[in-house]
Point group: C2
Chain length 113, copies 2
DNA sequence: CCGTATCCATGACGATACTG
DNA sequence: CAGTATCGTCATGGATACGG
């Protein structure tokens, strides 16, 4: 999650903790993870190949964070060699249209410029 | 909040530039700006008060970036003292439901835990 | 009122090497 | 295959002082 640093003066309790909510997709690669899980479960190595440029360390970190947040589900498959399958939780899947909307606006802004 | 850093190695062009699109709301405070502009124009000082904890420097930086990206419109009002009005562009306004959706999922995840 | 300038701290990220 | 360990870099952001 991206940390919201607080000013020295303690702010009044936020009515809407927007920062906390947006931290669901914080990090450079979290949106990519959600994006590439949109059509079903993917293994670690598949995600790593899908998301070009991400390092194993960071991908692990983002997957762990998304798992803690309840967005992503991690499932170990007892095989040889052992594999791990990641998928979107029910609520995690609801982030997909939001990301798609942002991407859509991004593309249209790009075309306009 | 979170920052979308691009890797130093340029990714191949055939990839969907998800990172570029998501950079529209990169930075810890960009979603807040869009959020607090949702009901119409706001002045710099109003935004600074709305978005508790943001420094003037960073708020300026994010507003400039959003302006360059075409999300936000900056309008100087010739008054005494001079004021500045920020508002969402037409395409920028389309980011609002996306952010609202993420916030909604965030709240529901929070309630579940 | 609306910023800019400076300095500094944090931590997200990449690269590489290594492990169960 | 699916990570972990370590090290270094650099963008983001906070605090404070100052400027138009």
């Amino acid at each position: 999650m991206v940390k919201l640093r607080r000013s020295r003066v303690e702010p009044p309790p936020e009515v809407c903790p927007l920062g906390e909510c947006m931290s669901l997709i914080s990090g450079a690669w979290s949106p990519h993870v959600i994006w590439y899980l949109r059509d079903g479960p993917r293994r670690f190595g598949e995600l790593r190949a899908d998301i070009k440029g991400v390092s194993a360390k960071v991908l692990t970190a983002r997957l762990r964070q998304l798992e803690r947040d309840g967005v992503v589900i991690r499932r170990e498959v007892a095989s040889s060699p052992p594999t791990v399958e990641y998928s979107l939780s029910e609520l995690g899947a609801e982030l997909r249209p939001a990301i798609a909307a942002i991407v859509d606006v991004g593309h249209r802004l790009k075309r306009r410029n």
